[in-house]
Symmetry: C2
Subunit: 109 residues, 2 copies
């Protein structure tokens, strides 16, 4: 999976390209409920390392899904929020949530 791959055969691929991987959906889910600081995200997502959190956030920012706001103060304060197109992912998220819940109910218990 490459960054900025514009050779999608189908628009659907863009979603997997952007949301794929272990952490991005969990990060997006946290941001759906509003702006969060780096440390808030870190606490909210169990087991994520600083490296992975900052890397995933940078990728989401590059793709225009997440907005990063730096407050130039000491100690540093950085806030992350969803862009307009990022907020629209909530519909995809809802569809995934509904299907996932049914799948788990059917197959994983």
């Amino acid at each position: 999976m490459k960054l900025n791959n514009r050779d999608y055969i189908c628009p659907v691929e863009a979603v997997i390209d952007i949301l794929g991987g272990k952490w991005k959906l969990l990060i997006l889910r946290e941001l759906m409920s509003g702006t969060k600081r780096f440390s808030q995200l870190r606490r909210a997502i169990p087991n994520i390392t600083q490296k992975m959190l900052s890397k995933q956030l940078r990728e989401l920012e590059e793709r225009g899904i997440v907005k990063r706001t730096v407050y130039p103060q000491v100690p540093p304060k950085v806030e992350y929020s969803l862009t307009p197109i990022g907020k629209k992912l909530s519909k995809v998220f809802d569809a995934m949530h509904q299907w996932g819940a049914e799948y788990i109910k059917t197959y994983l218990r």
Copy 2:
């Protein structure tokens, strides 16, 4: 990403777990339009290798998304189709398609 990981924090993760990777969505998309043979899928999906196609199909089968039907004849004939829960992925697919199209329109041209 592991197979059969039942420790999802959120049902949404199941979708990425099942659909993640380079090929699964493209395979599912082909199967949405009906039952297909191995060779049909191979022709329909540009650049996929035999190994990847059979591997992805096996994973989708293990997860109960795809049904595999073998006709015991020579030469062999194997058909793949979506299970009921697999067919229900079409809603997720549609939401992804809509968002992806808007994203591409906005950011990738």
